[in-house]
């Protein structure tokens, strides 16, 4: 009897630790971004043109009530992905383009349309990111589409290196640490100038040269020769500016071994 009392006390204490509650239904269902359309097309990759307006249409749904959608445009040339894709970096973007907008929504279904102006002086890869929240605070799985910005108004840069290499970075032997560049730039409105700059791993300039292109539609630099001071990783940049102020960029990494 004595033991039963003791164990009974223990069970009572443990039992009182349990909480029973009726759990009414709560909305934990995420809203859904059904589709993201760019210029009337659905897909992961889109080609858009600098200086033109891009028409974006978003289709969103929720089981109860939508609240907000956030649209964001950010550069994609840094190697990041959004869960899929290679994230490989080829050439850095020309110019900057950022856009962020939060739009209020309501109802179980919403179609949001917006027109985004693509800046005139950019080219490269961007992401259009769409996020949504419902009235309960549930967050949708985001949707991201790739935007390739084409810009025929920018100067076109073509570079021939010596030594040549398809590898990244371009390898040069320390016994002969010399790189030659032959740059050709074409621009319908005329090329204003050309600028070549090489920096080391800590961003110190080890070579730079400016050339006046005299507003020529086609301009060739001739042989530009640079000698690297020591082994290490370098960044070689060629920038071409046209008479309208549009700029294009060519970048190559060089490793001296």
């Amino acid at each position: 009897m004595k033991n039963a009392k003791k164990w009974g006390r223990l069970v009572l204490m443990a039992g009182s630790g349990l909480v029973y509650g009726c759990q009414p239904e709560t909305d934990t269902t995420r809203p859904e971004i059904t589709s993201v359309t760019v210029d009337g097309l659905i897909g992961e990759n889109h080609l858009v043109h600098a200086g033109e307006a891009m028409q974006v249409s978003l289709d969103l749904r929720d089981n109860e009530n939508l609240r907000q959608v956030k649209i964001n445009v950010h550069p994609a040339d840094d190697g990041h992905t959004h869960g899929s894709g290679s994230g490989a970096v080829t050439q850095p973007n020309v110019g900057t383009w950022t856009y962020s907008n939060i739009i209020d929504l309501e109802g179980t279904h919403a179609i949001t349309q917006l027109s985004l102006n693509v800046p005139v002086n950019i080219a490269g890869e961007w992401h259009l990111e769409v996020m949504a929240i419902d009235a309960s605070g549930n967050e949708a799985i985001e949707k991201v589409v790739n935007l390739e910005v084409d810009n025929p108004a920018l100067p076109v840069i073509s570079v021939i290196t010596n030594p040549t290499s398809n590898t990244e970075p371009l390898m040069i032997l320390a016994s002969n640490p010399v790189l030659s560049l032959n740059v050709a730039v074409t621009d319908a409105s005329g090329v204003d100038s050309l600028f070549v700059q090489t920096t080391n791993a800590v961003d110190e300039v080890v070579f730079s040269q400016s050339l006046d292109a005299t507003d020529a539609v086609e301009f060739t630099s001739g042989n530009i020769e640079m000698t690297f001071p020591s082994v290490g990783l370098y960044n070689v940049q060629v920038r071409a500016l046209d008479v309208n102020g549009f700029e294009n960029l060519w970048v190559r990494q060089v490793e001296v071994q």
Partner: protein
């Protein structure tokens, strides 16, 4: 092994051994030893406070050493009901029964450790070398330490007294994975007064620790919905450089009446790299290693903490008086490159966030006031804080806080059984004076005045109380229960925070309209002892009318590097659960312990659980100790920890799958002639099977980053003792 069931007032780290010739008869004073431990077995399961209805677990230096982990908080996680909230490796804060930060206080000499503990990524400014032993108090201990202790308290115990005239200790540790190297040295010198009237000591300990970028079993991470690769699993720029020191002068005078005077200074300095992928918008360039794993580049966080404590205790007649005065200076500076984006702070410089906290505390108690069979303690405390901010980011504003509390605690022996009634009431008052802030930012190229904080004054006050029993119904059963009405004053961050907190990866927003957090708590405990085993069960039930927590909102942050907005809200919440432990001695040299812990919580407003709730855990460990001779002693131990899947989660919180971890350790100790010196070799290993797992309490879980893999630490420790 014969168990000892009795009163062991002398368990205060050999203090009586040290002074039994000069202060015997007065050193068993409760004022020096606020918790008298009922020792049932020689493991931590069998320790509690026989007089208090609070559940207290004592971790002695041996347990502390053999469970050494990467941080102070992680070293406590072998205890049931205790977890750690990690931010990477080496930075963690303790979690007791699912509560942490503003609900758990760390107490040293009755002084609350005060830093920027509101940030769940901010670690505890304490190292492991200068801490000798700790006590973990579970449940509501707000009566003693104020509302900030409604989840429990961790009490740092004073370093044990030297048994001789002096002793010294040198410890060198090294670990793989993050290449941690540490060296610590301590020395104490003891003097006895004439006729044994007093004894005093000086204790000095210093430690330095460095670790490199650490590796994870992962090849990518995701932040702000962007996935980036991790080269060889290395988290770039996560090296840590840490120094700490403890200086202590202590005098006990017991010729006629006991007087105890202590002056202590503690210093902690930590410079840690912050993984660049988590600050601002992550880019591949920022997370690529610079090839140097030991350097601390940008971004980084520097924490500097100073703590001075003056403690005086004395007994006149039957009444004890105690006074504690403390000053703490906590400085946290985070540096990073200003973020690019549509919104940009126009101030230059690389100081992203500077938080400078000055804290002054005082506490005066009068105890052992007898009235008939009852005994009373009355006390009052005050606290004054000044917080100033700087940098181009904003999280919490400049503010001043004034707080005071007055309490009375009552104890009365039971009539029928051996045991005590405990109870008490406390009145707390706190006020904030917050300064507003306006800052110019560039919004898509246009200058804009941004006002993240407006100036406001807030005041809170209220009464809390509790009552409980501690009963020994027989030689082998001991019971406790404790019920309390709790009150917690909202912290400055809960009221005023507004900005992207990079440590938690979200825009956090306070609410100035929050009221005090009120609740009811019931804790129970039962200990059953047997010839060679001891069992302990500690259930609890809690209800909060107005529980404050960070909740996801139905709105996005307007800041470029902020996703969904998280705001502090108050909801009614139920919590229940408990811990059960069993300790069995198979042989005199071999014992095992097994424990299970579970927490259930329920937010009645959302009908969902609270975020960051620890899952069900089972812990099983065994220790084998063998003494070859009077000189050689060998110890081997392991612990298996099973953590259940966590699928019952808050809104937008990610679930985690179950996992099992194996930890182990060995030590070998050699005692020199006449016990004048000893040498101890240790080997500690965690996650021996290199399991890749997600910890639902880790801040990095939201980045899809697993916890650290296998971690092995070796150490050697020399001790020298002076003559008795």
């Amino acid at each position: 092994m014969k168990k000892i069931l009795g009163i062991c007032c002398s368990l205060w780290w050999g203090q009586l051994d040290a002074q039994n010739s000069d202060t015997t008869g007065v050193l068993d004073s409760d004022s020096l030893h606020p918790l008298e431990h009922l020792v049932i077995s020689d493991s931590w399961i069998g320790t509690t406070d026989r007089k208090s209805s609070i559940d207290v677990t004592l971790i002695n230096p041996e347990d502390w050493r053999s469970n050494r982990a990467l941080s102070f908080a992680q070293s406590l996680t072998f205890l049931p009901g205790v977890s750690a909230q990690n931010t990477g490796v080496g930075i963690a804060r303790p979690v007791i029964r699912g509560m942490s930060g503003q609900r758990i206080v760390v107490i040293e000499r009755n002084v609350k450790q005060e830093g920027q503990q509101w940030g769940s990524d901010h670690g505890l400014e304490l190292d492991m070398f200068t801490v000798d032993a700790v006590e973990v108090l579970k449940g509501a201990v707000g009566l003693m330490y104020g509302g900030d202790a409604i989840g429990g308290a961790i009490r740092i115990l004073s370093p044990r007294w030297s048994t001789g005239k002096w002793d010294s200790r040198l410890q060198v540790l090294g670990s793989d994975n993050n290449q941690e190297r540490s060296i610590g040295f301590s020395h104490q010198q003891k003097w006895k007064g004439k006729k044994g009237g007093y004894v005093q000591r000086v204790f000095v300990a210093i430690q330095t620790k460095k670790s490199s970028d650490y590796r994870l079993p992962a090849d990518s991470f995701t932040y702000l919905n962007r996935t980036l690769p991790l080269n060889q699993g290395v988290l770039n720029n996560t090296a840590i450089d840490e120094q700490s020191a403890l200086c202590l002068w202590e005098m006990i005078h017991g010729y006629r009446q006991l007087h105890h005077l202590t002056f202590q200074y503690r210093w902690f300095d930590q410079n840690s790299g912050l993984f660049p992928g988590l600050v601002g918008i992550p880019t591949l360039a920022s997370v690529t290693s610079d090839g140097n794993f030991r350097n601390i580049g940008m971004p980084n966080a520097h924490v500097n903490h100073h703590k001075w404590i003056l403690q005086a205790e004395g007994r006149w007649g039957n009444v004890s008086h105690a006074l504690e005065l403390a000053l703490q200076i906590n400085n946290r500076i985070e540096k990073s490159i200003p973020h690019q984006g549509p919104y940009q702070i126009l101030d230059g410089g690389d100081e992203a966030l500077s938080l400078d906290l000055r804290d002054v505390q005082g506490r005066y108690t009068v105890s052992h006031i007898h009235w008939e069979a009852s005994q009373f303690e009355v006390g009052t405390s005050f606290q004054k804080q000044w917080n100033s901010r700087g940098g181009f980011e904003f999280l919490i504003p400049d503010f001043q806080k004034n707080a005071t509390g007055t309490w009375v605690i009552w104890n009365r022996p039971l009539i029928k059984h051996s045991g005590q009634w405990n109870g008490g009431m406390r009145w707390d008052y706190a006020s904030y004076q917050m300064k507003g802030l306006s800052q110019w930012i560039s919004n898509n190229g246009a200058d804009m005045l941004w006002q993240p904080a407006i100036g406001v004054n807030k005041m809170f006050q209220g009464i809390s109380g509790s009552v409980g029993q501690s009963i020994s119904t027989s030689n082998d059963w001991h019971w406790k229960w404790h019920v309390g009405r709790t009150l917690r004053v909202p912290q400055a961050s809960e009221l005023f925070v507004n900005g992207v907190h990079h440590g938690t990866f979200r825009h956090e927003q306070g609410d100035q309209n929050l009221t005090t957090e009120r609740g009811w708590q019931w804790d129970g405990m039962a200990i059953k002892t047997h010839q060679d085993w001891v069992m302990k069960c500690s259930p609890f039930v809690q209800y909060y009318n107005s529980y404050i927590y960070l909740s996801p909102q139905a709105t996005f942050s307007y800041l470029p590097d902020g996703g969904q907005l998280y705001a502090y809200v108050q909801h009614p919440v139920w919590m229940a659960g408990g811990e059960c432990s069993l300790d069995k001695h198979w042989l005199p040299q071999l014992h095992s312990d097994v424990s299970v812990e579970y927490i259930y919580n329920y937010n009645t407003a959302t009908t969902l659980p609270l975020p960051f709730t620890p899952p069900l855990q089972l812990k099983w460990g065994s220790t084998y100790t063998h003494q070859w001779s009077s000189r050689w002693e060998w110890n081997c131990q392991f612990q298996v920890r099973y953590v259940a899947a966590k699928n019952r989660v808050d809104r937008n919180e990610q679930s985690t799958t179950d996992y099992s971890l194996l930890h182990g350790g060995m030590s070998l100790e050699y005692h020199g002639k006449d016990e004048r010196w000893s040498c101890l070799w240790t080997l500690n290993a965690r996650n021996l099977t290199n399991v890749k797992y997600m910890n639902n309490l880790s801040n990095y879980r939201v980045l899809q980053l697993p916890e650290q893999g296998r971690w092995i630490q070796i150490g050697i420790e020399f001790k020298w003792h002076g003559q008795k």
